[in-house]
Symmetry: D2
C-alpha cells in the first residue's frame, strides 16, 4: 500500500481539522493515521496525516498543487510527500563509531528507510565501516578550532547533495552558526548528556564529577547556539557510586544510540514539526 504523508503547522482557528480532512475526503483520500496537536499557549496548530495514496483521485504532484492555495490561505508551513520516496541522509562522524555502527545496522535491517549518499569525517578512522556497506566516504579534516572558512568545503558538499537530513553522529566539531541556519531543521545532533545539563564538551566527566545518579543523551536539531536547539528525544540510564567515568562513557553509548536512532526514524517518517525552539514529535 502506497502512503502519502502530509505535515502541516499554522496559526490555530476554528474548523481547521475539518477543512483539512474535508479537502482530503473530497479527493477520495482514505486517512490511515491522523496525529494532531493544538498548542493553546501559542495558538498554533500541528498535524500529520497519512493517506492511502491509491484512494486519491489525482496523482501526488497534482494533489500537492491543489492543496497549495488551501495551505496559503491558512498561512501554513507544510510538506506533502510519498512515504516511499527515500530521504537523502548524510552522516558526519569523527573517531567514535558506536552511533554510526548502530545507524548502519538499523539501516540494513530496514528500521531506517533512507538513502545514505555520503559519510563525511574529520578523521579517517571509520572509513572501513562505510566501505563495508559500499557507502561513499569523504575525509574532510577540520581542526578543533575550525573557523567558518575551514568548513567551506564541507558546506559545499552539503549544498551539492541537498540532503534531507544531516546527522552529527558524535561529530566532534562545532558547526558554524551560518551552516546551522542554512540547513535549519535538517541537522540533527546527538549530545552525550541529559540537556540542558552538561552542554558542551566532556559531558560524562562532568556528570561523574557532579555525582549524578542518572546519565543520559539528548538528540536535538542543531541551531546557531551550541546544544540549545529543539530537543527531539532523550534517554537516561541509572548509574551508581561504583561507576567510573569510563563506565559512564560505556553506559551512555547505549543511551546515545537509542535516542539518535529513534530521532532519525521520526525525521524520516515526517513525525517531527519544529515550532520556535520546541519539537512536536508524534512518536511511533
Amino acid at each position: 500500500m502506497a502512503v502519502t504523508l502530509v505535515k502541516l503547522s499554522c496559526p490555530d482557528r476554528v474548523g481547521l481539522l475539518a477543512a483539512l480532512t474535508g479537502f482530503i475526503a473530497q479527493h477520495g483520500g482514505n486517512l490511515l493515521e491522523v496525529s494532531q496537536f493544538t498548542d493553546t499557549r501559542s495558538s498554533w496548530f500541528f498535524v500529520r496525516m497519512a493517506i492511502q495514496t491509491e484512494t486519491l483521485d489525482m496523482p501526488l504532484p497534482h494533489f500537492r498543487e491543489a492543496f497549495a492555495p488551501v495551505a496559503a490561505e491558512l498561512d501554513a508551513q507544510w510538506t506533502i510527500r510519498a512515504a516511499e520516496s527515500r530521504m537523502k541522509v548524510v552522516v558526519l562522524v569523527s573517531k567514535l563509531g558506536h552511533c554510526l555502527a548502530d545507524l548502519l545496522w538499523r539501516w540494513r535491517a530496514g528500521e531506517l528507510s533512507c538513502d545514505i549518499p555520503l559519510i563525511i569525517s574529520n578523521h579517517d578512522a571509520l572509513r572501513e565501516m562505510a566501505e563495508r556497506e559500499s557507502i561513499a566516504w569523504k575525509h574532510v579534516p577540520i581542526s578543533a578550532s575550525g573557523t567558518t572558512e575551514a568548513f567551506a568545503g564541507l558546506a559545499e558538499l552539503l549544498r551539492e547533495l541537498q540532503p534531507d537530513l544531516v546527522v552529527l553522529a558524535r561529530y566532534m566539531r562545532i558547526l558554524p552558526a551560518e551552516l546551522c541556519r542554512e540547513f535549519a531543521g535538517k541537522i540533527m545532533n546527538i549530545h552525550h548528556s541529559f540537556l540542558p545539563s552538561f552542554a558542551g564538551a566532556n559531558a560524562y566527566a562532568r556528570a561523574y564529577d557532579r555525582g549524578v545518579k542518572l546519565i543520559g543523551a539528548t538528540c536535538h536539531y542543531a541551531t546557531a547556539e551550541l546544544d540549545a536547539g529543539p530537543i527531539i528525544d532523550q534517554e537516561v540510564i541509572r548509574v551508581e557510586h561504583f561507576h567510573t567515568p569510563e563506565d559512564l562513557v560505556r553506559l551512555g553509548r547505549d543511551c546515545e544510540r537509542l535516542a539518535l536512532a529513534r530521532s532519525v526514524r521520526w525525521h524520516l517518517d515526517e513525525r517531527i514539526l519544529i515550532h520556535g525552539n520546541r519539537a512536536i514529535v508524534f512518536r511511533d
Copy 2:
C-alpha cells in the same frame, strides 16, 4: 473554559474523520484536542475529541441529539459528555490501604476530578481513611469463597448508585462473572503483577520464586475471566537478588499506585476506548 468530550468508535470507512470534524465545524465547535487511531487489522476507527463548549451553536443535550443520527449511520458506539460533569466512582477495598490512600490523596489534590459517593469493603480495617475524607463507608463482609449470592448485596448497592467507575483497589475478592458483565467496561482492577505473568493470588511470592529481575503491576478492566480483561496500563521496577519477598511487596506498592492512578485519571477523562480485549488509551 468549558469542554465537551466526544468519544467514538465504529467500523472504518473513507471520510470518517472529515464527516465528524465537519459536523462539529458546522456547529461552530472549536476543536481543542483530537486523538485518532485506526486499527487496520480489524478495520476499526477510534477517536476522542475535545471541543470548546462555548463555541457550539446549541446546548449540549441538543448537540447530542443532533449527533445521534450521524452516529447511527456509522454504526458507532459513542458518548458525548461535559468534561466538567463529575463521574461517580465507587471504590472497593479490603485490608491493604496503599492504593486507596493514594487515590484519595490525588482526589483531594485535584488530580482526579470525580465524586466518590461510597467506599465498600469486605473488612472494616480502612474505615478511618474514608471518614477522614467524609466519604460514606459500607462494610459488606464476603468470605473468600464468596458465591454470586454472597455478592447480591454488593450488586444491589452498585445498581442503586449506577457508578461510572468501580475501582477494585486491592479488593481481595473475585467478583462474580455476572457482575463483571453487568458493569462491563466500568470495573477497573489493579493486579499486583506484570500480567499475564502471575495472574491470580500471591503474585509477589511467585515472582520471588521465579527469580524475576523486574516486578510490576497491571491495571485492567475486569471481565468474567480472572485477570484477563483489557489492559489499561502497566508499571515495572527493577529488583535484585537481595530483595526479599517482603521487599517485592513494598516496591510493588509504588507500581500499583502509579498504574492505578493513571488508569483512573484516563477513565475519568474519557481517554480509554475498549475494543474486544484491547484498550485504546490516548494517554495524557
Copy 3:
C-alpha cells in the same frame, strides 16, 4: 532478630576488610550483610555492615568502645548503631503537601522506621496533616528574603531537638549557609528538577520552556551552595509536546515523592556515606 549497623569510611589500605570483619568475627558477630566500595580514584574505602546483635559477645556500648581504637588507627569516620533505635526526623514544609503526605503515609505503613517529633512550616496550610497523625506542628514564618537572623528561631528549634535528619519536603526557603554547615550531612532536600539542570526556582516552567522530553527530581544533601550538595537519588519521567507546564508539575510530583521516599529510607537505614560532594549509596 536485633541488628547492629556499622558504617565506616577511611583511606584505603591493604587488609582493611579483613581487619574489620576479623574484629567482628573475633567478637562472635554474625555478618548479615556487607556492602563495600573502594574508590580507586581517591583511594578511599567505604563499608556498611549489618551484624546479628545477639551473636556479639558484649553489649553494644562496649562493642563500640572496643571498636574505637581500631577505627582511630584507620583514621576512619564511623558510626555503630542498633538498627532498632529510631532516628529523629524533623520535616520542614511550606504550602505543597504531596511530599509530606507521601512520607507520612509510608511512615504509618512501616516503610520508614523513625520518630517524627516535629513538623515545621513557614505557612500554616498543612497543619491538619500533622494533627491527623498527632505530630507536633510549629509555624515559623519566614519571608522569601529570609536572612540568617530570620532563621534564628528555626535554628534554635533544631539545636534543641538534635534531629538525625531534617527533610526539606518542598520547603520553599533557602537555608542559611551556616545552618547547612552546622547540620552537614543531616539536611536532605528534594529538588523538582533533574540536577544540575534547572537548579533554583521555577524548575518546571524552565523545563517546559526548554522543551525537554524527560523531567525529573533530585534528592540531595543541602550544602552552603544552593542545589549543589551530594546527590542521593534521581527519578525521571517521559513528557511529550502536549504536556503543559501544569502537567509537568503534576507528573513531577510522582518523581519527587519516589526519590525523596527512597532517600529518606536509605538515610534511616545507614545506607549513605558522604565523601566530598559524592554520596555512596548502598541501595536496597
Copy 4:
C-alpha cells in the same frame, strides 16, 4: 594492573567473610572490590572478590592450591581466575542477526572481553557477519523437530571446544535437555518476552494479542525445562495501542540486545552465581 577474581558460594556460617578476607590479607592481597550476599532464606553465602594480583605473595596457580583446602572446609563451590584470561564464547544463531551484530560490535569496541572461536548456525544466512570479523563459522542444519540425535554434531563441537559460555543469540532451536545439563550454567539464552509471560514461540504475536502495554526480553541460563532457567536480566519498553505486531518485533529487538549484552558481560566478568533456579548478579 592485573586482577584476580574469586567467586564463591557455600552454606552460611559465622565468620565466613572474615575467614576469606583474612586468608587473602595473609597472602598480601589488596582487595579492590568485594560484593557479598547472604540469602537468609536458604542460609547460603555468596561472594565475589577482585584482588590486585601483583600484591599476592605467590603466583595464581599456587594461590589456587593454597585456597583449595580452605574452600573444601566450607563445602564451597568456587573459581579463582585471572581477569585478563579471556573466556571462550561460542555463539549459536539462526536467521535473525540483531543480537549477533550487537555482540560483535561490543566485542570489537572492547565492551566484551573474550575470544569467540566459533559461530554456529542452523542456517547460512549470517555467515558474512562472521567472516567480516574473521570468526570461524559452522553451518549445522537442524530441523525444527530436531531430536537429540540431530544435535549430536553440535554437541561434539561443543565438547571439543569446551567453551566457557555458549550464547543462544536468537537460536531458534530447542537444545536437548541432556545438552543443557552437560553445559549447565554455561548456556545463556535470550528470550523475546518478559518471562514468565509468553514462554515458547511467537512471543511478540502473543503479547500483541494480549494487549500488553509493556513488552520485554529476558536473558536466562538454559536448563532442561524450556525458558524456565535462572533469570539473569530483563529489559522492558512501553508500547501503545498503535503499535502493530511488527512494531513490537522492532522495539523488542532493542530490549533483547541490551539484556543479552549486559548478561554476557556479567558472565565474562564472573559477576553471576547460580543457586538453584536463581541467579545472584553483582551488576556493574
